[in-house]
Symmetry: D2
Subunit: 346 residues, 4 copies
Amino acid sequence: MPDPLRIAVLGVGMMGRFHAETLSSRVHGARVSVIYDFDHERAAEVAAEVGARVEADPFAAINADDVDAVLIASPGSVHEEQVLACLDRGIPVLCEKPLTTGIRTARAVVETEAKLGKKIVQLGFMRRFDPEYVAAKQLIDSGAIGRPLLLHCVHRNKNNGDHFNSEMMIRDSVVHEVDVARFLLGEEIRAVQVHRPAATAAAPAGVSDPMIVIFETEAGRLVTVEIFVRTGIGYEVRTEVVGENGSTVFGLDHHGITRTAGPGGAIWSGLIPEGFIERFADAYTIELQRWVDAARTGGISPDGADAWDGYAAVAVCEAGVEAIRTGDRVEVDLGSRPVPVDRPTE
Amino acid sequence: MPDPLRIAVLGVGMMGRFHAETLSSRVHGARVSVIYDFDHERAAEVAAEVGARVEADPFAAINADDVDAVLIASPGSVHEEQVLACLDRGIPVLCEKPLTTGIRTARAVVETEAKLGKKIVQLGFMRRFDPEYVAAKQLIDSGAIGRPLLLHCVHRNKNNGDHFNSEMMIRDSVVHEVDVARFLLGEEIRAVQVHRPAATAAAPAGVSDPMIVIFETEAGRLVTVEIFVRTGIGYEVRTEVVGENGSTVFGLDHHGITRTAGPGGAIWSGLIPEGFIERFADAYTIELQRWVDAARTGGISPDGADAWDGYAAVAVCEAGVEAIRTGDRVEVDLGSRPVPVDRPTE
Amino acid sequence: MPDPLRIAVLGVGMMGRFHAETLSSRVHGARVSVIYDFDHERAAEVAAEVGARVEADPFAAINADDVDAVLIASPGSVHEEQVLACLDRGIPVLCEKPLTTGIRTARAVVETEAKLGKKIVQLGFMRRFDPEYVAAKQLIDSGAIGRPLLLHCVHRNKNNGDHFNSEMMIRDSVVHEVDVARFLLGEEIRAVQVHRPAATAAAPAGVSDPMIVIFETEAGRLVTVEIFVRTGIGYEVRTEVVGENGSTVFGLDHHGITRTAGPGGAIWSGLIPEGFIERFADAYTIELQRWVDAARTGGISPDGADAWDGYAAVAVCEAGVEAIRTGDRVEVDLGSRPVPVDRPTE
Amino acid sequence: MPDPLRIAVLGVGMMGRFHAETLSSRVHGARVSVIYDFDHERAAEVAAEVGARVEADPFAAINADDVDAVLIASPGSVHEEQVLACLDRGIPVLCEKPLTTGIRTARAVVETEAKLGKKIVQLGFMRRFDPEYVAAKQLIDSGAIGRPLLLHCVHRNKNNGDHFNSEMMIRDSVVHEVDVARFLLGEEIRAVQVHRPAATAAAPAGVSDPMIVIFETEAGRLVTVEIFVRTGIGYEVRTEVVGENGSTVFGLDHHGITRTAGPGGAIWSGLIPEGFIERFADAYTIELQRWVDAARTGGISPDGADAWDGYAAVAVCEAGVEAIRTGDRVEVDLGSRPVPVDRPTE
């Protein structure tokens, strides 16, 4: 039995801390050895919890002797340099989205990794590990509903601060549907359009919440996304795939039914999860277990999102932000996919 | 086009009034011509609503020239004499349950009708006309779930007055499951046992609410019935049929889903009907339309419950009441079915 | 009790025949007295069934002494002249959609009726009488989900002939969502855009099936409609209303659950209705009963769609057809609503 | 960070092998160090998979230096001696049901452990770790549905060999409902009755499949259990709790809905899990993680089933087997619960 994978976690805000805890209590073969956070006190607190040591500098953490792999949960603005440092050292990295904050820098990461000749950058699109998405992907691939034609996505959050503007709704929320659409349909998105209805009273001035985002894929399929991040309700993520011979919908959350008397009459009811941690807890654990299993042999999980997926997500979101501004269809141009060194065209 | 069927409605308490209104506003080919009620004022009020005249005596109503058929919604204690009067005159009658209040009298009605040589007595077991029960019956008969082995019934009411004791729970509530079991399984019930758990705090002293009633059929199949008439919630009637090759459950009430924030977190929910009128409104309308269609040619609806069904229900309920007392299995003996005069054995 | 309303049914293709049968067997207070159809043999056949006489000319039928009201189920191209003839005689008319086949003619009908000073033209938008739509409208109006912001509609048919092109998908199918959106949101549609994905292999060349249609209302709310008329599955009509404080979805069809073994593993399942008759049978009966009740006193059902609703539907569909061509947002201009003569502004 | 817990797995048939794999690939802080199985070849095969060594004798395995805790998945007949050996050495043990194969021996285990003064025996009732059961328990304890009055359990298996007789249906299948009832209601079962309907054609001669089992608790609450182990469908475990102020049902399996055309018409459908591994995979992982976490400090998981729970299950099943024979109500007498040495009454 090999020793546990020693992992440096960079950034221990809510997500990083949750990942560090998962790695150190629910994932086999992993050990959090090093914690870095801009806020050193927070780093120390989490390090104590998970039995790790603290590093005061992220690059020292990446290059430390007791680090075999890196999990990046720091702010998006520093992802580029941290991922590049991991590539430089050649150790596996699991990077929360976004890969980087711009198309050119994201493409540069893709190209740098291609020169390595092997994939070591994985993106934290956890829905690819959610049992419902996996089952939907298998159903599509089985041919049971025929060729997919349409995807309808609903993505709703209970609430968000006033800083969470229309652009962030694309970059931080719809980005998941970008990856889901590419994952389920197996092709690239070539254009984006955004429809902006009258906003909810809960939205700050100037923020278009909700919005309807339409993706158009290379094969001409359409994806509709309702993004609504201040519903006041809970976390709702539902996806319907409409194929030539059938359709499938998941994310319904009907795990149990309770019947009670209510003020307006008797109801049957079930709970809606509060947030994404509740909804995707299993997906996160599976994602981390699969990544650890792969990273122990120096690679990334074959069913995870890779650097190209991260780059494509950045590019589509960029177009989405532009589409908010214009109201028109905005095209996405990814360019050709770099060929990894020493390996023939995939 | 024949003239509308002229109907006398006997008893216009809640059910009778509802029937009179249905006949005079939602059923084709029917007209309520005469109203009788022990409470003459109430009779006059309903008569005015539906454009009928009042009769002060039920037998005068049954024998009136402007009456082609009779709907009996009077108290059970007078059903026997009113049904016999209809048989005497030979006109179709739709009688709310019970057929009569005793096994011997119920059997006497069956035998009197048999001498007529044609069926003119229909029992008001409306579930036989409910689209969900009809679909379940068709599913069973199609063989899709194989031979039925078990039936699980849930019958819950929001509340009932303190007079509604354990015996009435059998005679007035479980009587519907008696008919449902006979209808869906197509055979007689040969024994009944009643289990009495600790009662709800809402039950008056000495009343066993809820109870678990077990029917055993001639072929040895089992029917479990949860009867609970003071849930404080709403009207819940669910039935599951378990067959050798599959099962089916209906009465789930999931017509729509609403998602809202609640005090204990966000919920998805749907409404539970308040009472049997809400749940079975369609069944009542269909029952009356089918009965009117049949009565216009002097008979009863072939898909309705007949006098024998009414008699069997009385006999099983009688055994059920005895089973409450003893806690043991109580057998039901229906005797042989009378052969209608002038007609070969059915 | 007044005599039954004597109704002329014009056009007895599938819909007209279904209506004639409903009126003569499931609706109280109605009688089909006259049948007209371009195909005289078909007219005779239906007339025999429902006990009516045949008229060889639609205008003779409209003006016949034994006709109190008219139901128009003839081809859309003759609706204008038939509705105008009813207006001319001043008798109530229930007209299947479309009101007429052009904006100007539809507006002319509205204006002609306005001069009468009372509403006698009702449109056959039956969903307004469907219990689920009525419940959704009540839920919205109760404020339980707050101000509606978005409507998501799915409208799928099992199949359609090759003649059923993209334009007909708007005029014959999406027209129902036009009325539903106006009914549920209580305001006019001011613009339409159509997105056309790659078509299903089942679609004839040049037909965009499915399509995503986006309505924008006067208040800036958005309605998304998936119209897909060759799914090969069944009839699926689902609607989700997303409000500021909650959401509701209906049309889920989960009336019962059957569990069986299947070739690919065990499944729980339920039936999807084959077509709109199965799905909306109750709505049609309620629509006709409500219309008959109203027509007996010379008017239309207050909860039905009126001539203005018919005109608005024509105008929005016209814009929808233009939107298919351009791919862009097309505005709808209804003009001001005519004020009925002798009545103050509504 | 402490070293991983070194675990001996005794018995690597289907369950033991699954547990060994879970411990060595999905549970943090655990390592399978020793494998024992009666079939030495099978032991060697699993040991190679999980990186453990083989022991040829179970007691040598229990007492080995590289063993900190023991998981027993061997046949029930040897549980007694293996659990006692663990108690003798004083190391934590997770024992699959049954605790032992007789009431007296089970009680002896309870008493032996009581003398130790601390709990080190945990029973493998995994449903206590299933998120749905945990949520139901929390719901009950929250008071949201009031005091529970009834529990309805459905327990169905796709198929079982002919050796699986009525007695085994109680001991191996209903035993889970025994524990669920005690877990959810928090009290002991005082009597059992078994109703035996006509059997499915798939049952071997003399085997009563399905059966209806009724438990009566100390407080007079009733539990109905449908046990049906040859449905030909899949694995269905559903539980409904009926309280004084509401009810809750779970185990519905509605994770996603697929709509397709079928031979008998279009259906919406979802998958039923094939067996208990699919249904309770998460519960097993959570159970093992929780046990490992507790065993690392020498104890058992506080939310797991303890030796007394194992003893009570044996006693109730014994009564259940007797109840099959008599058809009557059979009482259960557990005696008083032993007080652990050195600790005051719990």
